[in-house]
């Protein structure tokens, strides 16, 4: 349990439990470090790491006045709910339309944040002060995102310390800390992903270090912060069961199993216990799992269903134009005229039910989990974890485009393993990050996102590409690589189209019907890349010997 002390303070990065720390980073530059900085505490950070930290903080601070989505008000409302209401009211309050729909740990977290907020400006935590957007609340909420994200930074530092190839891991760690996904979703759009992915990576780090119990506990905690991480749960379950609770020969080790089960149960009791005692569990669950939404989100997440939906739209146009007698679904036709807002109802293709999506997801996951069961190593776990999240993203019900981080973050850790992984990572990252751009629809904010992503790509993807590039070995591979590169270059054209389309059609009549065309094209184009990367990764994983 000692491993569980949260790395909230950066001093923890110099943990004695990791002696490699000294060897890996301290051996060569140690002289200069120790000489020059006796006065100034270093917290185990090298200068380039401090650079990344300070520069990223500076850039994030500059984004304070940037565009904020409704999520900003959602989180402000949660501060108000947790501060001004007793625990029993948290999941019942409906003062604002943005009700609390995250698990209890996140509610506790908001409660914690609301204490300084009340000191800074009591109006922030006023329940009836809806849509409050004074400078104090913006600065406060934005700074809490930056501060809590430090957990991510500390965990990424510790990834470097014990890594096989320090310099590459350093690039990967920096790339994750500066990931455009976090910048777009957390620092502009507004959410607390950096902090929660920090916990996820911490759990993965514990798995790498061989502390599997801690890994399981941390994942349980993470599940109680945000239940979207359930997408990853199957991989965790199989991995911990096979490699922690069973011996190599396949016998169950009862003490380990019981200790893991107990630990996880304790976490859930701490989280849900109060609400179970108050008999609010059904209410809580109904908040967490609202099964009233449609297959696609308002803007289609770039997954398999985006392709299916687009195919349906194309077929509809085809049917209309050529008068092919198809049994059209009338409500579906109405749905298309509303563009992308609201539920998706298919017109030509039979409608898809949640159970079906669930079955497909579980089916794909099962394939990877079998492989994981056979070879429960850390690398295999990492790949299976990524693929679990990826399957859910590809085939899940009502997947949000922000969930693409579930794929990109663990995939980053695999990226420098080999060129095959890297190319997959490259395609998935490009498509995934691009698919986030529509989240920011104001021109100022989208320019920031696009330019930042370009810079990120130039300073992360290029150096790794140079280091681990491998020439394709045979003609099919050359063709494949050419196609992939054409696909990647196509994003430039896509961005040009998305940027210019509104300008070209603004004065034309009937443009309202085409208003959502850029979104549709973006979604489909990104979906192609993400599906391809999914197939690539699956094949690599299943073929590789662990």
């Amino acid at each position: 349990m000692s491993k569980l002390s949260p790395p909230s303070s950066p001093t923890q990065a110099h943990h004695p439990a990791i002696p490699e720390d000294q060897e890996e980073t301290g051996s060569i530059p140690s002289k200069s470090h120790r000489n020059s900085d006796s006065k100034w505490p270093r917290w185990g950070l090298s200068r380039s790491e401090t650079d990344v930290l300070l520069l990223s903080t500076g850039l994030k601070v500059l984004l304070f006045p940037a565009y904020r989505s409704t999520d900003f008000e959602v989180h402000r409302n949660w501060l108000a709910i947790t501060h001004s209401l007793p625990v029993s009211q948290w999941y019942y309050d409906t003062t604002s339309e943005w009700t609390l729909d995250y698990p209890p740990f996140f509610a506790y977290f908001e409660k914690l944040l609301s204490i300084p907020a009340a000191l800074i400006d009591p109006k922030i935590v006023d329940l009836n002060n809806l849509g409050y957007s004074e400078w104090t609340v913006i600065a406060y909420q934005r700074s809490t995102v930056i501060l809590t994200e430090l957990i991510l930074g500390v965990v990424l530092l510790r990834f470097i310390r014990g890594a096989v190839d320090t310099s590459r891991q350093r690039i990967i760690s920096a790339s994750l800390f500066l990931h455009p996904g976090f910048l777009i979703i957390d620092h502009i759009h507004f959410q607390y992903n950096g902090f929660m992915y920090g916990i996820l990576l911490w759990s993965i780090l514990m798995a790498r270090e061989g502390h599997k119990l801690s890994s399981g506990i941390l994942f349980a905690i993470l599940l109680n912060f945000k239940h979207i991480y359930m997408y990853l749960a199957p991989a965790y379950f199989i991995y911990l069961l096979r490699s922690y609770c069973m011996s190599v020969s396949g016998e169950i080790l009862p003490t380990r199993f019981i200790s893991l089960a107990n630990a996880v149960i304790v976490v859930f009791v701490v989280s849900l216990g109060p609400f179970i005692l108050m008999g609010q569990l059904p209410q809580l669950l109904s908040r967490l799992f609202p099964f009233t939404r449609g297959l696609n989100h308002a803007y289609w997440a770039p997954n398999a269903w985006a392709i299916v939906t687009a195919a349906d739209r194309v077929l509809l146009q085809f049917a209309k134009r050529f008068g092919v007698a198809l049994s059209l679904n009338e409500s579906g036709v109405a749905s298309t005229s509303r563009g992308l807002v609201g539920d998706t109802v298919f017109t030509v293709i039979p409608n898809i039910k949640p159970v079906q999506t669930f079955a497909i997801t579980v089916g794909f996951q099962a394939i990877f989990l079998v492989k994981l069961w056979r070879s429960p190593t850390y690398k295999s776990f990492l790949a299976a974890l990524t693929l679990c999240g990826y399957s859910s993203f590809m085939f899940g019900w009502h997947v949000h485009e922000k969930a693409v981080l579930l794929v990109l973050v663990p995939l980053s850790l695999l990226a420098v393993d080999s060129y095959a992984y890297f190319k997959t990572f490259l395609i998935a990252s490009t498509a995934g990050v691009f698919s986030l751009f529509p989240l920011l629809f104001t021109p100022a904010a989208s320019l920031i996102a696009v330019v930042y992503s370009l810079l990120w790509g130039a300073s992360v993807l290029l150096p790794i590409n140079r280091q681990i590039y491998e020439f394709p070995r045979s003609v099919p591979w050359v063709i494949l690589e050419t196609l992939e590169n054409i696909y990647l270059v196509g994003f430039i054209a896509l961005q040009g189209f998305v940027a210019l389309f509104p300008l070209l059609t603004q004065n034309r009549s009937g443009s309202a019907a085409l208003e959502f065309l850029p979104l549709l094209v973006t979604s489909v184009y990104c979906a192609i890349g993400l599906i391809w990367a999914f197939l690539r990764l699956s094949v690599i994983y299943l073929k590789q010997q662990y």
Partner: protein
């Protein structure tokens, strides 16, 4: 050590080999792969230098024996260190050789311990250098290290540039630095601007937008007379033309942003976006290329890493970014045009430079602050070239300046409009009707107004005296810099006889800068700072003008050097002096972020200063006071009796620093001037002798006054060019190239 020493026999030919090879270690990329037009290679430069006054064939040998490398225009700090002999920068040595083609310089710069360098012989030093350069194997080993030892003493920008170079991403450094700077500029632009949501007059943003509105709707002659009460146009015509262009482009997108009268005070997000984009676009079109050419001309002989670091330092210049992209103005256009002029001067294209500078003046009259320095540089160059060529250049310059001015003002001049029209722009551009100073500006008048004398009350009704006083003080203030340039030109002036001999050759010679060029940034600093401190009607944003030459100097200096320390202090205090303005604009967060980013980039840590020099002690004192002031302002509201308490305290902190920067620039000007051509007075007689045509044979004054080794080195570095040139002349006069005239080969014992 011994074994390596013995590996090189004391054979001169071998030693020459060593010398010839050394440059290739550090200078290949920019000597070979540069822009040949603006940066002639060192040898060619020397050839052209000599061919101006001597027969070409004779120079070949002198090139071989004693190449006089081209001076690093911003590195004259090193020269004074060399000549002074005592200040070997022990730990703060520059990461690259002072001069890429001089073996001796790289010895010294790569050999950090001062005592040893004085004890060891030259050949031993060469071996030291070979060791420190490392054999190829160790170089490749060093590649794997994440943080070489130098890293602990450099800024984030240098570490990033080094990382990029090491990972084979050299060509990406400049593009990504520029894109990153545009990104940061755009992010600053997310904030509010001057006069945001403050009707009826708004602020600078509305002024600029209003000018776009009026220029696209009114004929030329009404531009400077239309509704002067509401932000009447009071900038020179180039601003008006730029506004017209922006207005035209803007009204193509949405005409309602610039409707005459009805668009006043429009603050829609789209129009704000357009206005912000116009600043970024003009900046990217003019200022960024100016910075790039600055890097290639002024620092063209330095390592590509140093050039890249300098570019990054300049691209993220916090004061300019905050004012242009936060507060909202187009200063970078004016500064960029001035910088282009400086680059043209450095490349030797004086007429082009004069043209750019007039454009700069024509964009914003504030560029007048630089005029004394630039004017006296050009005049000094005329003097340097001698009566015939000098007066020819003078006529050409006068013609260029007049023509450019006429072109700029053409729409207001007789053929196009009645002759009285010109009065309106001129009286608008130079307003003497306003007060001595506005708001709280960190200059002499406001400072003394707070502490000593209430100027306005004292001279009520007699403002004329104040105007004269301020003009007189300003002239006194910039006189040292201007005089230095003129004097330098006089000291180094070419022999009329030589010029006559080579009249035909001179035309084909590629343009070369005068020896006084390194003085120019200091003179610009002296002149603009003197205007800021003493002149009439100064605004706090005007500090941007002195900050430009200061930052240019800083960008070329190595870490913790004196120039660097003053540059960082000046910049930080400059930004701090604008805090009241930025706070009013709602740019507090951007202020904090930019200071953090830029200081980290250049490698300045205010918390880790050691009081080991005057400027360090001053920095510590100023930073402590500034932090306390910020803390106080955050926690305590100002007393009702003194609502302006904090701005006044800010003035009291900043003015002394600016005054000291001004004095320092004068001091540096004198030092650099001395390094170029000897001190006024002491060297006058000697050079007078020379120029009167009675050259002293030997012994050489440089050899007398300076210890032999170092004199040689100083000369071979090109820091004593007038000496070198003089001796070259002597030898040519004598009709023979004597060996001893040139520095003895390095290791001769």
């Amino acid at each position: 050590m011994d074994s390596i020493n013995s590996a090189v026999p004391p054979n001169e030919a071998r030693k020459r080999n060593v010398r010839d090879r050394t440059p290739s270690f550090n200078s290949v990329p920019h000597i070979k792969g540069g822009v040949p037009k603006s940066r002639p290679s060192t040898l060619r430069n020397f050839a052209s230098n000599s061919s101006m006054r001597s027969v070409g064939s004779d120079t070949d040998r002198s090139e071989i024996i004693a190449p006089v490398p081209r001076r690093h225009l911003l590195q004259t700090a090193e020269s004074s260190q060399w000549l002074r002999l005592d200040t070997f920068s022990d730990t703060n040595w520059p990461s690259r050789g002072i001069s890429p083609v001089s073996a001796t310089s790289s010895v010294a710069s790569n050999f950090p311990t001062s005592t040893a360098s004085k004890r060891l012989s030259f050949s031993a030093l060469l071996e030291q250098e070979k060791l420190s350069r490392g054999i190829p194997a160790s170089v490749s080993y060093a590649k794997d290290r994440e943080e070489p030892i130098e890293d602990s003493k450099s800024g984030g920008a240098r570490r990033w540039v080094r990382w990029m170079h090491r990972h084979g991403l050299k060509v990406w450094v400049v593009p990504s630095a520029i894109v990153a700077s545009i990104w940061v500029k755009w992010c600053i632009g997310l904030g509010t601007y001057s006069g945001h949501a403050t009707p009826p007059m708004f602020g600078d943003y509305e002024a600029q937008r209003h000018w776009m509105e009026l220029t696209i709707h009114l004929p030329f002659r009404e531009w400077y007379t239309y509704d002067l009460q509401y932000w009447g146009l009071d900038y020179p015509p180039l601003t008006a033309y730029a506004s017209w262009l922006c207005g035209k482009v803007g009204s193509l997108i949405n005409p309602s942003w610039f409707d005459l009268y009805t668009s006043r005070g429009i603050e829609s997000p789209e129009s704000k976006l357009f206005m912000r984009a116009s600043v970024v676009a003009l900046d990217t079109l003019i200022y960024v290329p100016a910075l790039y050419t600055f890097m290639r001309t002024w620092q063209g002989t330095r390592s590509s890493r140093t050039q890249h670091v300098a570019l990054v330092t300049l691209l993220f210049h916090p004061a300019l970014l905050l004012i242009d992209f936060g507060h909202f103005q187009y200063n970078s256009v004016m500064l960029g045009l001035t910088l282009l002029a400086l680059n043209a001067f450095a490349a030797g294209y004086d007429l082009l430079g004069a043209f750019f500078f007039v454009l700069s003046l024509g964009f914003k009259q504030m560029a007048l602050y630089y005029a004394p320095a630039i004017g006296s540089y050009l005049l000094g160059k005329c003097i340097y070239l001698g009566p015939v060529h000098g007066s020819r250049l003078f006529m050409r310059l006068a013609f260029t300046v007049t023509l450019t001015l006429i072109l700029l003002f053409a729409p207001f001049l007789p053929p196009l409009s009645p002759s009285s029209t010109i009065l309106a722009p001129v009286s608008r551009i130079f307003p003497f009707a306003r007060g001595l100073f506005e708001d709280k500006v960190a200059n002499f008048w406001c400072f003394t107004n707070v502490l000593l004398i209430k100027w306005k009350r004292m001279f009520e009704g007699r403002e004329g005296i104040l105007i004269k006083a301020s003009a007189g003080l300003t002239v006194l203030g910039f006189l040292p810099g201007a005089a230095g340039l003129l004097w330098g030109g006089w000291k180094a002036r070419l022999q009329p006889a030589d010029l006559h001999e080579n009249k035909t050759q001179e035309i084909t010679v590629p343009p070369i800068p005068t020896p006084t060029l390194p003085l120019l940034p200091y003179a610009l600093l002296t002149s603009s700072m003197s205007f800021f401190l003493f002149s009439f009607q100064v605004h706090e944003k005007t500090i941007l003008l002195p900050l430009l030459p200061l930052t240019l100097l800083l960008s070329g200096a190595s870490l913790n050097e004196e120039v660097w320390m003053w540059g960082v202090l000046g910049n930080n205090v400059g930004v701090f002096s604008m805090w009241p303005l930025l706070k009013k604009d709602g740019l507090g967060v951007q202020y904090f972020a930019m200071l953090l980013l830029w200081n980290r980039m250049v490698g300045h840590d205010p918390f880790r200063l050691r009081p080991n020099s005057l400027v360090a002690i001053l920095s510590i004192a100023v930073y402590v006071t500034a932090f306390l002031l910020h803390a106080l302002e955050l926690l305590v509201p100002p007393p009702a009796r003194y609502p302006d308490l904090f701005p006044v305290l800010n003035v009291l902190v900043c003015t002394p620093v600016f005054g000291l920067v001004w004095l320092w620039s004068i001091k540096r000007g004198i030092e650099v001037g001395w390094a170029i051509g000897g001190l006024p007075g002491s060297g006058a007689k000697k050079s007078g002798d020379l120029y009167n045509g009675t050259p002293k044979p030997k012994p050489n004054p440089a050899m007398e006054s300076v210890r032999r080794d170092f004199g040689v080195r100083a000369m071979s570095l090109g820091y004593a060019p007038s000496e070198a040139r003089r001796r070259a002349l002597e030898s040519l006069r004598a009709g023979s190239v004597e060996r001893d005239v040139f520095p003895p080969p390095l290791g001769r014992r």
